[in-house]
């Protein structure tokens, strides 16, 4: 009886629901007032750019003249004709696949290791591991360490040890550039996600570990799997998003170390390619097409990771 009347009145319920939320919105107008300054700026500088970027990607636009609609031409050129873009995609993919997961795991592993240290040692360790990611352009010091002549630190050590017999051009030989870049990016990979992990470990109830021990958790791996990971899920997701973000947005490091443009485009990433077309050649339509593809890939990655992490520890 009740069920039937519910189905019968579904439409009116839906309508009343709508008017209910309208009423609620009116009652809560002060909330919108508080949200307004942020929301306006956020829409102007984050959402609007994404929408216009999607629009420009279907046009030919150089800022001076009016954009002209060209349909999918930018995308077709990008995928079928632009060989440098394919190199950039390959490089970004390699960097993302290598540094994303490895950086993520390193962050987690070291947060886990330092968790059991005495408090003051932990404080020092957090600074040591986190400092590279906030140290501005400190990565430029790697251009001295990896310098191509014998004054370069790495070259001199390897020469000293007799491993190489002539200095190697670490930053201009296409064979080495990617390896060097990956090392430097890994060095900087313990960022916000790492901090989140450290704090997450601290927030776990200590008596759960003791109880786990009494219940028969025999070593640190079992403890990690059965107690720690399930309590860390929200941090794991946040850390994953942060590490995809940094892995896909790599552009400053290659430009500072390998030069811009780099030898044979060996250090070109999607974002440097975008920078090249956007800010050096002013082909905004083409650059927007690159940006749009990057958005799509990142949103897809976020979906995949959210799904994967929802299964952790269950």
């Amino acid at each position: 009886m009740q069920k039937r009347s519910f189905i019968g009145n579904y439409a009116s319920i839906k309508r009343s629901k709508l008017s209910y939320s309208w009423d609620k919105a009116k009652r809560m107008k002060v909330c919108y007032l508080f949200l307004a300054p942020y929301a306006i700026l956020f829409f102007t500088f984050f959402i609007l750019p994404i929408c216009t970027s999607i629009f420009y990607s279907f046009t030919s636009y150089n800022i001076l003249e009016k954009p002209q609609l060209v349909g999918f031409k930018n995308y077709i050129n990008l995928i079928l004709q632009d060989e440098v873009f394919l190199t950039a995609v390959k490089n970004t993919f390699v960097i993302a696949v290598v540094t994303g997961p490895i950086g993520y795991m390193l962050s987690f592993m070291f947060a886990w290791f330092i968790n059991e240290l005495p408090k003051w040692v932990r404080a020092i360790a957090v600074v040591v591991f986190y400092a590279p990611s906030i140290a501005g352009n400190a990565y430029s010091i790697f251009s001295v360490i990896f310098r191509g002549d014998a004054y370069g630190y790495l070259n001199s050590i390897l020469l000293d040890l007799g491993i190489i017999d002539a200095p190697r051009l670490w930053l201009s030989n296409p064979d080495y550039i990617m390896t060097v870049l990956i090392i430097v990016i890994l060095w900087m990979s313990m960022g916000t996600g790492f901090l989140s992990f450290v704090a997450g470990f601290q927030g776990i109830d200590k008596s759960m570990y003791e109880a786990g021990y009494v219940d028969g958790v025999r070593n640190r791996w079992q403890e990690l799997y059965h107690i720690t990971l399930p309590s860390m899920k929200p941090m794991l997701l946040f850390g994953a998003i942060m590490s995809i973000t940094s892995a896909f947005n790599v552009s400053d490091v290659p430009r500072a170390l390998a030069g811009y443009p780099s030898t044979d485009y060996a250090a070109r990433t999607v974002v440097t390619h975008l920078f090249d077309y956007g800010f050096s050649r002013f082909e905004m339509g083409y650059a927007s097409a690159i940006a749009t593809m990057l958005f799509l890939v990142m949103i897809l990655c976020k979906k995949v990771i959210t799904n994967a992490l929802s299964k952790v520890g269950t």
């Binding site: 609620k24 909330c31 508080f34 949200l35 300054p37 942020y38 929301a39 956020f42 102007t44 500088f45 984050f46 609007l48 994404i50 970027s53 800022i63 070291f110 240290l117 005495p118 040692v121 957090v126 600074v127 040591v128 400092a131 590279p132 906030i134 140290a135 501005g136 352009n137 400190a138 430029s140 010091i141 014998a150 004054y151 630190y153 001199s156 050590i157 000293d160 060095w187 916000t192 704090a199 601290q202 109830d205 008596s207 570990y209 109880a211 009494v214 025999r218 403890e223 941090m235 946040f238 995809i244 552009s251 974002v271 956007g278 905004m284 927007s288 940006a291 958005f295 990142m298 949103i299």
Partner: protein, 490 residues
């Protein structure tokens, strides 16, 4: 009650299934009193009257304490800093029965009833801890002595003295001398020796401070310590190298083989930097003031605007709020370059190119600050806000005088993320008047000056990196407190 030994814990007391009274739990020596915000004394009992004490944690330091008194009364307090309150009561509750301490103890008791025995985590005796610490100090002194060459000299003197009397020891003395000469000349030997010594010091110190878990293997611990020290050295090396390069005089910068530490450290590179900057047609101080102003105003505005939005998103359920936050979480993923081109076009339309608004306004709306703030504010007890509502405070009063003072740890987190990005901004795409350029832009020009400016470039790197690192060092504990609530719940 004297104010002196009093500790206050803000939170709520549950009086029935639905009603809660906001107020403060005051703990003094051996008594507990719950005062409501209106000033009424709602509950008062001696800690020794407690029969049973339990607590459930809600993330961070928040916890609910469930207290049963011997007289049969039952209290439930949800406190902002419930974990320290629980610790306090546990410490001052003299009649506490031991087995009630936690679940582990309960399980242990049950196991004993079954006739099994489960050992407790063993604690090192104070005497052994002291020995470990003394050994660590000796090792530290030894490492310093080894690296400064004192050990070599000492051995040389002793062996020379002894071999003066016992001729047969002369070859031994020479061998030691050669060994140290080799050691001095080989970077590899030095690195390895220092690494081993540092690990040893680390192991000794941590054994002396830490309570060992019984289900940890010693081998595993040693492996972890070694990995930590090794990776720590690798991580810190480039930063140390940057600092030491900035202190090297020119001839040492191009020395073969290159050294890590300067033989004759000088501040020449920094003073040269000032000279070079002094010659540019915009004075150095101008760049500095620009960057300071951008960093200060950008961070300040971001803090206020993002906190206002975070407050309503965290504490009110209004149509569209959740969707908006979802969009912000997705926007965490987009870097400045990706939105850079359309942003330039938009700013151009708004007439903001070559003004600081082009830097400040996007910085005000940075997603990471809102995200952190909102997650942290969710931990604030809703009762606090409800109580203020009942007292007739307006939304803005509540935000300004109740919410903001209670989220101070989150301020620092928002500040460090904002300072880090604004301090490092070169703004080359939106600002083109020389007088408006930022410090980092000017410094990058110097860095681009090629090989002749290597020393100054290193000095530049140090100037740019030191500010965020120092802020982080001083605000670390607060930042970690905020990050505890950073997770994304799906």
């Amino acid at each position: 009650m004297s104010e002196k030994n009093l500790t206050r814990y803000v939170g709520t007391m549950k009086t029935s299934e639905t009603a809660k009274i906001p107020g403060e739990l005051l703990l003094e020596e051996s008594r507990a009193v719950f005062m409501s915000h209106r000033g009424a004394q709602v509950a008062s009992f001696a800690l020794n009257d407690i029969a049973k004490l339990r607590h459930t944690r809600h993330g961070g330091l928040r916890a609910t304490l469930l207290i049963n008194l011997t007289s049969g009364e039952e209290y439930s307090f949800t406190l902002e800093r419930g974990v320290p309150a629980y610790d306090y009561i546990n410490r001052h509750w003299e009649t506490r029965p031991h087995e009630e301490k936690n679940r582990a103890d309960e399980l242990r008791r049950l196991a004993e009833l079954r006739g099994e025995r489960i050992e407790k985590p063993q604690k090192l005796s104070e005497g052994r801890k002291k020995k470990f610490r003394i050994a660590a100090v000796i090792l530290i002194l030894f490492t310093v002595a080894l690296d400064t060459g004192l050990v070599a000299k000492l051995f040389d003197y002793i062996l020379t003295g002894v071999s003066y009397f016992v001729r047969i020891l002369t070859p031994a003395r020479n061998a030691v001398r050669d060994a140290f000469v080799y050691y001095e000349s080989s970077n590899l030997a030095k690195t390895i020796a220092n690494l081993v010594l540092i690990v040893a010091i680390f192991v000794l110190l941590s054994f002396s401070f830490k309570r060992r878990h019984p289900n940890r293997s010693v081998g595993g611990d040693l492996g972890i310590y070694f990995l930590l020290v090794f990776m720590g050295c690798l991580m810190v090396f480039p930063l140390v190298f940057a600092v030491s390069s900035s202190l090297k005089p020119l001839d040492e910068l191009f020395r073969f083989p290159p050294t890590v530490f300067p033989r004759h450290p000088t501040f020449d590179n920094f003073s040269d930097l000032l000279v070079t900057m002094g010659q540019s047609w915009v004075p150095f101080s101008r760049y500095l003031v620009n960057t300071f102003a951008i960093t200060f105003f950008g961070t300040f505005g971001h803090l206020i605007i993002a906190s206002m939005a975070a407050f309503v998103l965290a504490k009110y359920d209004f149509p569209g709020g959740k969707t908006f936050f979802g969009i912000v979480t997705t926007a965490l993923m987009f870097s400045g370059y990706v939105t850079g081109i359309p942003n330039y076009v938009i700013m151009n339309k708004l007439g903001m190119i070559d003004t600081y608004w082009a830097l400040l306004l996007p910085a005000f709306a940075a997603p990471i600050g809102l995200f952190m703030m909102k997650q942290f504010m969710e931990g604030l007890p809703t009762a606090l806000i409800e109580a203020a509502h009942i007292d007739g405070a307006g939304e803005f009063r509540i935000f300004w005088s109740i919410v903001m003072p209670n989220v101070k740890p989150a301020w620092l987190t928002v500040i460090i993320f904002s300072v880090q990005s604004l301090w490092g901004t070169s703004a080359s795409t939106v600002i083109y008047s020389e007088a408006k350029k930022t410090l980092v832009y000017a410094l990058q020009q110097i860095q681009a000056g090629g090989i002749a400016r290597t020393g100054q470039a290193a000095a530049v790197t140090v100037v740019v990196m030191i500010v965020p690192i120092i802020i982080f060092i001083f605000s670390q504990s607060r930042i970690l407190e905020t990050m505890a609530s950073s997770g994304i719940k799906d």
